[in-house]
């Protein structure tokens, strides 16, 4: 069963291949994402994040999910030497972080429901599980940042998360915490494959902020591979990236 809905301002697709799937199972993912939006969106007047920014809630009254996310954000900030920061000009905006985290939580939910073969794709950030309809590993294209109708790499993924960060399509929604007004333009697309989408997404965002140095950062991270494309259309990949590249022979 496959469904796509527009949520968080982007298309979100859930496909569950397992036979015993019901509409309720797929919908549970969207219900969870709706809830996440209500709590974390800085664009919604009634969200907890908005209330925190307006100082309407004190820290001791934060919900458990907010506390969890803030702790994880702090952890990410340290692991990326400050290149990941959810406070922009003093305002809390975890929307870039929450997406990967929430996809991973939904992935765990589906696993708990007993599903083995599925994927969740929120605006190009992907968590896969098991096999596709044909019984093969999931085949994922990395989109050409210069032409949305083309893929420039094809990956074969089994249980990992794949996230791509870029400013190309949406303009500048990612910024450098050290220089918030500086435009990030040398690297236009940064893809990270990691053990899950939460890990892949947070490090893809940080690596993108680091621009050309980001690929060295990913190279040093154990269990992660990266693929970046610069503004001239030159790609750079980490040394172990090729093991994920799809080869028709296997």
């Amino acid at each position: 069963m496959k469904k796509t809905k527009l949520l968080w301002g982007m298309p979100i697709t859930v496909e569950i291949v397992d036979e015993d799937v019901s509409k309720k199972d797929v919908d549970s993912v969207y219900e969870y994402f709706h809830y996440i939006d209500k709590v974390f969106s800085p664009y919604k007047k009634e969200s907890e994040v908005t209330k925190i920014n307006l100082h309407l809630i004190s820290e001791k009254d934060y919900s458990d999910d907010i506390k969890t996310v803030l702790a994880l954000c702090e952890d990410t900030k340290q692991k990326t030497n400050g290149h990941f920061d959810v406070y922009r000009y003093g305002k809390l905006d975890p929307s870039g972080f929450v997406k990967g985290w929430a996809i991973n939580e939904a992935y765990k939910m589906l696993k708990k429901r007993g599903f083995k073969n599925f994927y969740i794709d929120a605006g190009g950030d992907i968590q896969v599980s098991g096999k596709n309809k044909e019984g093969h590993n999931w085949i994922i294209g990395i989109r050409n940042p210069f032409n949305r109708y083309e893929n420039v790499k094809i990956l074969k993924i089994n249980e990992e998360g794949v996230a791509t960060s870029g400013t190309y399509i949406r303009g500048q929604h990612i910024y450098n915490p050290f220089l918030p007004s500086q435009k990030l333009t040398d690297v236009v697309s940064f893809t990270v494959i990691g053990p899950n989408i939460y890990e892949a997404d947070r490090f893809a965002t940080a690596a993108f902020v680091m621009q050309e140095k980001g690929i060295y950062f990913i190279e040093k991270l154990k269990g992660f591979e990266g693929y970046m494309i610069d503004k001239f259309g030159i790609s750079t990949s980490t040394s172990g990236f090729d093991k994920y590249v799809y080869d028709k022979k296997n």
Binding site: G9, I140, R148, E150, Y168, K183, T191, Y216
Partner: protein
């Protein structure tokens, strides 16, 4: 030996790339103007959107649609009942388009010019996009092309 081969590979790919840039017919730079300045290749739209439809000749502007990080608005040109061109009037993009060769940092990491791949895929990974907003704006332009 491996290092020598790798550096050779890097140098050769750079030379090829530099030559293509100079010649001005690099597939990469063509794609860049093709996808951003001219919108969507008309062949793609001609096949998918205008099948079995006869739109009236003219230029139509779609509504402005909020795409979360900016607005999307398209303008279409109808010729002989088909979409001949799509232009973006508004697009949330401020990427610098200036092309200049920077001082490339050589590294042990694999560098290559990107190339289109044709294999069928299950899912696509890319920066979150504005396709939904694009479709909405395009739809509203097509409605105008039908009723005028």
């Amino acid at each position: 030996m491996k290092k020598v081969l790798l550096s050779l590979f890097i140098i050769v790919s750079f030379l090829i790339y530099a030559l293509r840039q100079k010649g001005g017919n690099s597939s990469v730079s063509n794609n860049q103007t093709g996808s951003l300045n001219n919108g969507i290749p008309s062949t793609v739209l001609g096949n998918s959107t205008s099948a079995n439809m006869n739109y009236k000749e003219g230029t139509y502007t779609g509504s402005t649609v909020d795409a979360f990080y900016g607005n999307v608005q398209v303008q279409i040109v109808i010729k002989s009942g088909r979409i001949a061109d799509v232009q973006f009037l508004q697009y949330p993009n401020d990427r610098s388009r200036s092309i200049e060769i920077s001082n490339a940092v050589m590294s042990m990491l694999r560098k290559e010019a990107i190339q289109a791949q044709s294999a069928q895929v299950d899912i696509v990974s890319g920066a979150s996009d504005t396709s939904q907003a694009f479709i909405q704006s395009l739809d509203s332009a097509l409605i105008k092309a039908n009723s005028n």
